[in-house]
Amino acid sequence: MASVWISGAGMTPFGRRTQSLPDLMADAARAALTASGIEVPDAIVVATMNPEEFLGEGNFASRIATHLGFAYVPAIRVETATSSGAAAIFAGFTAVASGTARAVLVVGGERMTHLPTPRVSEIIGRSIDPYERSYGATMPALAGLITRALMARSGLSAREISQVAVKNHANAVRNPYAHFRAPVALAAVMASRLVADPLRLFHCCPISDGAAALVLTASRAAVRIAGIGQGTDALAVRHRQELTSFRATQAAAKAAFAMAGFGADRVEVAEVHDAFTPFELIALEDTGLFPPGAAGRATLDGETALDGRLPVNPSGGLKARGHPLGATGIAQVVELVWQLTGQAADRQVSAHVGLAQSIGGLATNNFVTLVEAA
């Protein structure tokens, strides 16, 4: 299998944006292409979760290719719910690794803030098992069920879950691309209103607009995709063997590390899917970055802070950088590329190997990507 390099990375600021999704994607794509020095890619992979319902637009691969002035470049769209961006990287990776393409533009984004919150929740909720949805189960509801089981099983406290939000907001203060650029205090997180008991408002990520892009090439660049893996689980949460860890992350991590030929001990920075703050702690244990039951304490002790032993979500994560669905999995890797190449400005950490973990749906279709500085 040929090596796959990341020769360009770019994104738009996340948050409430007035531009159209094609324009946001164009800004991210232009930034990544400029950084890569590639004028025209061989192929385009577009990631967006649900432009049909958010925007009333379909055939989105052609929509974006044409908008970018690449009407003659073959384009496909990839969708795995909230991990669509990571799935697009996976598709681009396989194209380059197989020799099908030498330069692939991977671009993802979502535009949601123009719709009322209940409507956005309803559209995101389409990724939940229909029977569970018929009982009013939303993403926060399912996350609430998992969080209660997790707290009962591991003894995780509300303090540990809340500290994740405090840390990620503190990181986002230093990130000009982040949705939220204000710090939050632990007491404020713990006193925020209950959304899905025991989850509170400040444990949940916001609704954001934005786009992110990468250029993957067969020609050598500063960062290499060392490993990438996909893992899956039953759509229905009630069918899961385990509620308090995600089989889909564990399988994805196992595949990614097997491809990379190294272990979790080599990882020096991580971007994980903290759509709900307890999910960051689950991710750190599922990927093997922390032993089972250790992530909460480590977070309280500052081990995952920007100046800690293993900085986690230096971008601010989904919690504070924001979560424009189709953009998210790509934005995680954009951040890692910037961190590995010394372009992370005020939030720069020292790292040669980074891990990104992305969750699709309620952990039904997850990806882990390992990147390494050349």
């Binding site: 009013g136 069920l145 089981a149 959304v195 039953a234 949460v237």
Partner: protein
């Protein structure tokens, strides 16, 4: 035959691995094997629960949702009147009202009734009384709208 005192829940079971699911599914989630219909007793344990404070349109707020594991092994999502006194591991009875499942806490008295139910007909009668009371409570108190 006395009337059944505990609701029977319709599900399906995998002939290969024994996995039971509710509602019935065509294939086992873990094997491409056709599942067989199975009837499960509506008694189980709370696996986890939450209270949703901003439920989707068509549901009352706050909305109590629990994940319950039935004695037959299948898990189901159901609604409840309240979560006060409910803990992970609490024993509950599942009632189907208008094809929607609800959990009700099995207090000490109810557990005694179940014991008597197993022991003889007197308990069955008591349980039937409790059950019809629960049904009356639920009627008209379910969701604001239908599906």
């Amino acid at each position: 035959m006395p009337p059944p005192v505990i609701d029977q829940i319709q599900g399906s079971r995998c002939p290969q691995c024994g996995t039971a699911v509710v509602p019935p599914a065509r294939f086992c989630p873990w094997h491409p094997v056709a599942m067989a219909p199975v009837s499960l007793t509506g008694l189980g344990e709370i696996v986890t629960f939450t209270t949703l404070h901003s439920p989707p349109e068509g549901f009352r707020s706050p909305l109590h949702i629990a994940l319950v594991e039935l004695q037959g092994g299948a898990r189901l999502v159901c609604h409840g009147e309240a979560t006060r006194g409910i803990r992970i591991g609490s024993r509950v009875a599942i009632e189907a009202v208008d094809r929607v499942y609800y959990f009700a806490h099995l207090g000490a008295l109810d557990r005694a009734r179940l014991f008597w139910r197993r022991a003889g007909r007197r308990g069955e009668r008591l349980e039937a009384i409790a059950r019809s009371w629960a049904k009356r409570l639920w009627k008209g108190r379910g969701r604001d709208t239908g599906e």
